[in-house]
């Protein structure tokens, strides 16, 4: 069993990244592939990639700790110095490069829990635009139970409690009414109301306020 470096297409990040991608999400996927490819022999390959993956995963979920940046740099340097295999050496190097090249984006994730492209799982909310939704119920049928409220002819509303964002396919809506929101939250009806009856100014208990910045 050897760690197969060839299996990782993401290493050449300069060619792989598009402007819609998130660098942190990209790095996480890189480490995820590496940790699963590891043959488990060398400690840096087996435990190192897993540890880095867990830290970046916490970052993407908005659970980063204050010192995570230093921690990542520290461990990544030791990994690329100490590991036995080229695969891990290269992913560690790539990750270091990505941190260096996009330092601000990493800081934004870690300190302010924000993702510029709204890719990272913990850094956006999903909503159905009440101006666009025509009550076709496409989304209702395809989404897991109770994640979307509504019925034909009504404006659908995403149930923010117990929401598994990854289980909702944004492309399912023919009108692209399912949208992501960052820190600025749009005004939304609290529960389904008939199509056309939504009034931006009158309805909704959501004040559209900016999400409070956490102290970090």
């Amino acid at each position: 069993m050897t760690c197969k470096f060839e299996k990782i297409p993401l290493l050449n990040w300069k060619n792989n990244l598009s402007s819609h991608d998130c660098i942190i999400d990209y790095s996480m996927n890189l480490m995820d592939i590496a940790r699963k490819e590891s043959n488990g022999e060398c400690v840096f390959c087996r435990e190192g990639t897993k540890q880095i993956y867990e830290i970046i995963k916490d970052i993407t979920e908005g659970n980063a700790l204050r010192d995570d940046m230093d921690l990542l740099l520290d461990i990544l340097k030791q990994i690329q110095l100490g590991t036995s295999c080229n695969m891990t050496k290269n992913v560690a190097l790539t990750c270091l490069e990505l941190i260096e090249a996009y330092e601000e984006e990493w800081e934004l994730h870690i300190r302010r829990k924000r993702c510029s492209n709204l890719v990272c799982n913990g850094m956006y909310t999903l909503y159905i635009d009440p101006e666009v939704c025509n009550g076709c119920s496409h989304c209702l049928r395809s989404a897991p139970k109770e994640m979307i409220m509504g019925e034909p002819g009504m404006i659908h509303v995403i149930n923010q409690n117990n929401l598994d964002k990854l289980s909702i396919d944004l492309a399912i809506c023919p009108l692209n009414a399912i949208k992501k929101a960052g820190p600025i939250k749009p005004k939304l009806p609290a529960k389904p109301i008939p199509v056309g009856s939504f009034d931006q100014k009158a309805t909704g208990n959501n004040e559209g306020s900016r999400r409070k910045r956490r102290r970090s």
Partner: protein, 694 residues
């Protein structure tokens, strides 16, 4: 051996050519931390803890993998390598439980020692729960707590490279590796040989012996080999089983004879504590150690032990031994070899004690005993048969420098209320003796035996073989708690012997001075108080049993009284100190006389101890040990046997193939003792560096 000079941490050290940097450093007293390295295993360079800097190498390297070269300059303690080691250990600890104090390896754990050495704690990293650790379960021999595994793969290498058993492997599921049986098979399906090398090399508490398998009363190194440990004479059982398997019967007998004087007889009748405690018995039947012993003795054509046995010159001292049983004859054998003049007094027409007059002939043919007695007598001793010694006064003026009392327990002991003499009530010990002498009286149609030990079964089976129609055993214990061997019980049942469990005799009816019937009752429980037997009868279960002969198999004691001339305890047993010396200086006692009936092998062990004590008393070193077989190093490679634990015990060893198949089942528990111990940074060898400071 060519020497290589290196510079390490500012010392010039000398090392053996071909050694790795790590080996050279450890030998020179320079500690380099290491975890996946083990002195008996090939290096793999996994753990990264042994990282060092070598001049001319661009990055730090693993010292366990790199062979030394003349003039190499090595630094083991730079900031860079310290940092790397710490990070590596931190990463290992991230998925390791933090409950050190509740782990059995606590304070005996290499990982814990390394944490102290490197100053690393469970730390700043994310704690990681490994998912696959629960896939690998404990079994009856090995406790597995795989969440404690730090993936050094010593166990896998020990299993594959060292032993060749090929049972363990690195498995992978859901993108996560774990240590398990090859192809995730179960213990029974696997090729595990039960050698426990994996336990021996595991640096953490991931793989451990199940508690309770090994005695905790003896030091670990001794209790790890239960058969040898439980044998009263500590016979090197695993070795002779291995020799027997190789067909080296004569060498096997040499190993047996180092410790035992009546190996052939024991091959028939030993109570085999070794088998009872055999580690294999936790899986299926134990190894047939007794049968293997018997087979090797019977097939030893060369008798190589005779060439090696030592006979010292006469030293002019004289010892008298009272009793020619296993204890007396064993002591006589070893003392005669040490050069003493021996005189043995035997009250019966022939020596051998219980071997000749206790154990029924159907279990142990007399000619086997006689042949083994001959070997002992040949070493040089005077034997006085038909000579009962009932008082020390009889030996006055014979010029003995020491006397050994080894008269055994030759007198029956009954519950006090039955001490009356009826012509048709016989003590088991007399019954067996009469049977051996072939002068048993007419037994009648109904014979009852009172007692549930092996002797009771001997009596019952003797009676049955003599053609008695109804033989019954009355036993106070429940069937599962009987003292007799299971084998005896099943054989007795096959022979239509009736066993009445949890019953007691309440009263005996007499007519014309003879016993004629017994009143018995079912009992709930019983206990022995100072001099009496107490039991709780179940009302309304009383019954009368006709009997023509009643045999009391209720215990034996020495035939000894105060008139013998030594101090007694409980008025029958001689009082001895830890050197077996009685209240009279120079008079020793050993064997069953000290405690009542035990076993032949116990008697031999006692005889050996007596020989040692007497030799010491007479100014010798007390060393009776002989090396009759020169040991080669044990093999470390034992190979792979698929489904090893499914091999069933072979009930009868008919030929050498059977013996080979049976010996193959041995787990070879002794081999793990040859595995070297891991080194800790606190070991004294790292206190001083053996090199020149430059």
């Amino acid at each position: 051996m060519k020497k290589v000079k290196l510079r390490m941490d500012g010392y010039i050290i000398e090392a053996k050519e071909g050694d790795t940097i790590l080996e050279a450093a450890l030998k020179a007293g320079i500690y380099i931390p290491h975890l996946c390295h083990h002195p008996d295993l090939e290096p793999i360079g996994n753990c990264k803890l042994c990282t060092v800097e070598v001049e001319g190498e661009p990055i730090p390297i693993q010292s366990c993998e790199k062979t030394i070269k003349d003039g190499m300059v090595i630094k083991t303690q730079t900031e860079a390598v310290k940092k790397l080691r710490q990070t590596a250990l931190e990463l290992m600890l991230a998925s390791h439980p933090q409950d050190c104090t509740s782990c059995n390896k606590y304070l005996n754990c290499e990982l814990q020692a390394l944490m102290q050495y490197l100053g690393v704690t469970h730390s700043r990293l994310r704690h990681i729960e490994k998912k696959n650790t629960s896939l690998v379960k404990s079994d009856v021999l090995i406790k597995r707590e795989m969440q404690r595994c730090i993936h050094c793969y010593r166990c896998i290498r020990a299993c594959n490279e060292l032993r060749g058993a090929k049972a363990l492997s690195i498995n992978k599921k859901n993108g996560e590796v774990y240590v398990g049986f090859l192809n995730d098979s179960s213990l029974m399906e696997s090729s595990c040989r039960g050698c426990s090398a994996c336990v021996e090399v595991c640096p953490t508490g991931a793989i451990q012996d199940v508690e309770g398998i090994f005695s905790i009363q003896t030091p670990r190194q001794i209790s790890l080999v239960p058969c040898k440990n439980q044998c009263p004479t500590q016979t090197d059982i695993p070795l002779y089983i291995r020799l027997a398997q190789e067909g080296r019967y004569s060498d096997a007998v040499s190993v047996i004879r180092e410790k035992l004087t009546f190996p052939h007889s024991l091959g028939y009748i030993c109570n085999h504590q070794c088998e009872t405690n055999c580690k294999r018995s936790y899986i299926n039947d134990s190894i047939a150690i007794r049968d293997i012993k018997r087979f090797t003795v019977e097939n030893d054509l060369e008798e190589k032990w005779r060439e090696k046995t030592v006979q010292r010159e006469k030293n002019g001292k004289k010892i008298g031994i009272i009793g020619g049983g296993p204890t007396g004859m064993t002591a006589a054998y070893y003392l005669a070899k040490l050069g003493y003049e021996l005189e043995v007094y035997e009250r019966m027409p022939n020596p051998g004690g219980m071997l000749s007059y206790g154990i029924p002939k159907y279990r142990l043919p007399q000619k086997i005993v006689n042949k083994e007695l001959e070997i002992i007598i040949e070493t040089g001793m005077k034997l006085f048969n038909n000579t009962a010694i009932t008082s020390l006064d009889q030996l006055k003026g014979k010029g003995y420098d020491a006397i050994l009392l080894a008269i055994g327990a030759s007198k029956g002991r009954r519950p006090v209320e039955y001490n009356k003499i009826w012509p048709n009530a016989i003590d088991a010990v007399d019954f067996c003796r009469m049977s051996c002498e072939e002068n048993l009286p007419e037994l009648g149609e109904n014979v009852t035996i009172y007692g549930g030990g092996n002797v009771a079964f001997d009596c019952a089976r003797i009676a049955k073989k003599l053609g008695v129609k109804n033989v019954r055993i009355i036993c106070m214990e429940a069937r599962s708690q009987m003292l007799a061997d299971t084998y005896e019980i099943t054989e007795a049942l096959k022979e239509n012997i009736e066993i009445l469990n949890q019953m007691a005799i309440v009263h005996v009816n007499e007519s014309e001075g003879k016993l004629d019937s017994l009143k018995v009752t079912a009992i709930k429980n019983f206990k022995f108080t100072a001099n009496e037997l107490e039991f709780e009868a179940i009302n309304g279960t009383e019954d009368a049993l006709d009997t023509n002969t009643l045999v009391f198999a209720t215990g034996q004691q020495p035939d000894l009284t105060e008139t013998f001339g030594i101090e007694l305890i409980k008025s029958v047993f001689p009082k001895v100190d830890e050197n077996l010396q009685t209240s009279i200086k120079g008079v020793f006692a050993a064997g069953d006389v000290l405690h009542g009936t035990k076993s032949v092998v116990q008697a031999i062990a006692s005889g050996r101890k007596a020989a040692t004590c007497i030799d010491k008393y007479l100014g010798g070193h007390g060393n009776i040990e002989e090396v009759l077989f020169k040991r080669d190093p044990n093999p470390s490679y034992i190979g792979s046997i698929q489904g090893f634990f499914q091999l069933e015990r072979i009930s009868e060893l008919k030929n050498s193939e059977d013996l080979c198949e049976e010996a193959k089942r041995c787990l070879q528990c002794d081999l793990r003792l040859d595995i070297q111990k891991a080194k800790y940074w606190v070991d004294p060898q790292f206190k001083t560096i053996r090199g020149v400071k430059r």
